[in-house]
């Protein structure tokens, strides 16, 4: 049945580098995201060290105490520092961490770049770039994206953005250090930070990344609207495709707002305009930046979580062997979240000096997001209710996603509440919240999704023992890292301070900061297991059959490895995606493309 696939030989470059195949581009985005994940995580470990042991030299590369006190060279690191101090050149390490001690300037750069990389170069590229590319054509039953060349362009623009962002680390003055939110005027004028080209490159890189997202989202929307297989009505689409469809629309509408703001910021920095600075001469306003940034930024938060919800929905339905509970209300809840996402941005600005009356309005819209979030959570529980739950590793990640999302969602209510937010705004409470949503939520979904679709991507299973060790280590270390941050926030511990010991009222938190740092290092090292497992299984993993998890959706109809063009013959869809355990059927699953049965009514 595969005789109509074109089997012409492709060169290495056209197959693996400048590929037009959506599956290869998806894999490229995945490896890109995993690579950036390590850079972003590494930066976090550096500043976690500073928070636990302020102004003490880093382990391994820091100088010894004897060297610091008496100049006596004891360790290999001491020799390195000796050499650096003796050289006439101003070395990078000497500027940023003399003797291994992180300077306040470097600290600001570390957390700025940690968040920038994680948000724009890890979570979005993996969720949208990797899963979006790999899954959309396969799951809606088509041969490729609508615009393969745009698709390739989207990836290579993302690579260009990453290169520009990476250069920023090595320019004089250091990289951007005004936070990932880049609040003006701090970000708008080099005199306030001493950062010159770092902040410019940050803005230029995000502009390029914005084009990449824009090109990708146009492609996704066009493909989903026009290229669904016969019978694949909108309400027969798997929820992960719904989530990616909604996210593509959000990206299309939100990123241009950020791009405009970034362009104005570049004008402010390089052309002497004053869009974002309120000087006696210039008529700009710092709050304009915040409005533009968060008008983009809040939909961006849902861009980070919605595909995670989609992936978790697939995992929970498949491994509970049950239809999704309330399929349509799941779709409507996602649409509601996407819609509300546009009218809540002011909750980031409750304490900014925005008119207080607006605070009350934004509090109301923000708290309303609890409604669709609750609908989704209860529907996931409903899906497991009277199911036949298989505790595979992807399912463990799906369950972790739901649990962590519940914590992240509930902690959001505190901050949505304006009076309570007065106290916890800009404290570790928000740091805990965002990590429960984006790490506890999105990343667990990403891990689960990688393990789940790995057999279709690479034709092999990931090693299950390693996957389970990775899951439990990550789950425990994640909670030990981020849960105590709620307590820090309740204590008033500000975010973005490099040395909590400077404050009388934070003296009691030293032990907790050390505990968090230890947990963060464990969490970081646990991810090495995932990466080792990923690359090892690519070549050495157990060979997988075509549909190892017995899933209904169309991607499993394609042969493994999936050839160019995906399907021999485009499948016809006869039913919804979650027809599991249908009464009277011998098998507990009925693929969407299986024709013998009359079209079922799932989803109605």
């Amino acid at each position: 049945m595969h005789d109509n696939e074109h089997h012409h030989e492709e060169s290495f470059i056209s197959k693996y580098i400048f590929s037009l195949d959506h599956k290869m581009i998806g894999k490229q985005f995945l490896i890109y995201g995993l690579l950036m994940f390590f850079i972003g995580g590494g930066l976090a470990l550096l500043f976690r060290w500073q928070l636990a042991y302020p102004d003490q030299p880093l382990p391994v590369i820091g100088a010894s105490q004897q060297y610091l006190d008496e100049g006596e060279v004891v360790t290999g690191a001491d020799r390195m520092w000796e050499r650096i101090y003796e050289s006439d050149k101003e070395e990078w390490l000497e500027t940023n961490m003399p003797s291994g001690v992180i300077t306040p300037e470097f600290y600001n750069m570390l957390f700025t770049m940690h968040a920038t990389i994680m948000v724009f170069f890890v979570v979005v590229p993996i969720l949208v770039g990797a899963f979006g590319n790999f899954l959309i054509p396969l799951m809606i039953g088509t041969r490729d994206m609508a615009f393969p060349i745009l698709n390739m362009l989207s990836f290579w623009l993302a690579v260009l953005a990453a290169i520009v962002m990476a250069i920023g680390f090595f320019v004089p003055g250091g990289h951007a250090a005004a936070g990932w939110t880049g609040y003006a005027p701090l970000s708008a004028d080099p005199q306030w930070t001493g950062v010159e080209w770092g902040q410019n490159l940050w803005a230029i890189s995000l502009l390029i990344q914005g084009f990449s997202s824009l090109v990708g989202s146009i492609n996704y929307i066009t493909t989903i609207i026009n290229m669904r297989a016969p019978g694949m009505t909108l309400f027969r689409m798997p929820l992960v495709i719904w989530s990616l469809f909604i996210v593509a629309i959000l990206l299309l509408l939100a990123f241009p707002v950020l791009s405009s703001a970034l362009a104005l910021l570049i004008f402010d920095r390089l052309a002497g305009t004053t869009f974002f600075s309120a000087t006696a001469e210039g008529g700009g306003d710092p709050l304009l930046w915040q409005h533009l940034f968060w008008f983009f930024g809040h939909p961006e938060v849902y861009i980070l979580i919605l595909p995670g919800m989609g992936i978790a929905s697939e995992l929970i339905a498949v491994f509970s062997r049950k239809p999704i509970f309330g399929y349509r209300s799941m779709v409507y809840a996602m649409i509601a979240i996407a819609f509300l996402g546009w009218i809540v941005w002011g909750h980031h600005m409750f304490q900014s000096g925005m008119r207080p009356g607006l605070g009350s309005i934004f509090m109301t819209t923000t708290m309303l997001i609890a409604v669709p979030s609750a609908i989704k959570t209860f529907n996931w529980l409903g899906t497991m209710f009277r199911g036949s739950i298989r505790f595979t590793t992807p399912m463990l990640h799906g369950i972790a996603f739901v649990s962590m999302f519940v914590i992240g969602g509930l902690s959001g209510i505190y901050m949505a509440n304006t009076p309570v937010d007065i106290f916890i705004h800009d404290t570790y409470y928000i740091v805990a919240h965002i990590h429960y949503v984006v790490f506890g939520g999105s990343l667990f979904a990403i891990f689960g999704g990688i393990i789940f679709w790995f057999p279709k991507m690479y034709g092999r299973y990931m090693n299950d023992a390693l996957s389970k060790i990775h899951f439990w280590l990550t789950f425990i270390a994640f909670n030990c890292t981020f849960f105590p941050m709620h307590i820090l926030g309740v204590g008033g511990h500000m975010r973005r301070i490099s040395n909590p010991q400077q404050y009388e009222f934070l003296q009691g938190f030293e032990g907790m900061n050390i505990f968090i740092t230890m947990s963060a290092f464990t969490l970081g090292f646990a991810q090495l297991i995932l990466v080792f497992n990923f690359f090892w299984s690519m070549y050495k993993g157990k060979v997988a059959e075509q549909n190892p998890w017995q899933v209904n959706t169309l991607e499993w109809e394609a042969p493994t490895p999936v050839p160019h063009g995906n399907f021999g013959q485009i499948p016809t869809v006869y039913r919804g995606p979650y027809e599991y355990s249908v009464p009277g059927e011998e098998s507990d699953w009925i693929p969407q493309a299986q024709p013998e049965h009359a079209p079922a009514t799932s989803g109605d």
Binding site: G353, A374, S388, S403, V406, L410, F423, E504, P583, D588
Partner: protein, 221 residues
């Protein structure tokens, strides 16, 4: 968890803390119910040989129930929050005729406090400027004119439950009434540059007699 909250020493702080507690117990109950249900389901409906899942597509009644219930809870919570918020942040609702008016200006990396002096006008000869030290009497209404000369800072007094960003070229009014004498820290809560960590002022809340003595010392009559 809430025992970690710093002691409250402002008149409106108790209202904030009450909401904090209300949300804490609300979310705790929801959390326990959801997680409890999840764990029960995971155990009860784990895969067992010869047992199939039930084919359940959903329940419109349940969807309506949990949509309505969440909406009601959200609006009730909002109703209790509006007055607290307005009381703290809306200048039209501040207590009138403040006992003390001070201008606080953020500047990398200090808080500049300006007292208008006996004439109660800023920009006159009897103004007093202090770096990082704010002096106010206990049980008195204090109005602060908050501004900045460079970037955005945030005026945060954890024990007052008060936080407000300070913006260049804007004057934002905040108020408080401290209920207990003491010396409290005023950290900056908005990233403002490499000296952000350690940007720290002090709020000195004096007993009325001590405050009067301090005023007398500064502006002898």
């Amino acid at each position: 968890m809430l025992q970690w909250l710093p002691e409250n020493v402002s008149t409106y702080g108790q209202g904030v803390d009450n909401l904090f507690y209300a949300i804490y117990y609300l979310t705790l109950i929801v959390f326990i119910l959801v997680m409890g249900t999840l764990i029960v389901f995971l155990i009860k409906y784990r895969h067992q040989e010869g047992k199939r899942a039930d084919y359940i597509e959903g329940s419109t009644t349940l969807e309506i129930v949990w949509t309505a219930a969440t909406t009601v809870i959200v609006f009730v919570l909002a109703m209790f929050s509006y007055p607290q918020w307005n009381n703290i942040k809306s200048p039209t609702q501040f207590p009138e005729n403040p006992d003390v008016v001070v201008q606080v200006s953020g500047k990398q990396f200090n808080w500049d406090m300006t007292y208008p002096g006996p004439d109660n006008e800023f920009g006159t000869d009897d103004d007093l400027e202090l770096e990082n030290e704010l002096h106010v009497p206990v049980n008195a209404v204090v109005h602060i004119r908050l501004t900045s000369v460079d970037v955005i800072h945030s005026f945060f007094v954890p024990q007052l439950r008060l936080k407000q960003d300070a913006l260049p070229n804007r004057f934002i009014e905040v108020w408080f009434e401290a209920t207990k004498a003491g010396r409290y820290e005023i950290p900056c809560a908005e990233l403002c540059g490499f000296g952000h960590s350690g940007m720290l002022g002090y709020l000195n809340v004096h007993a009325q007699a001590d405050y009067d003595a301090w005023v007398q010392e500064r502006w002898p009559q």
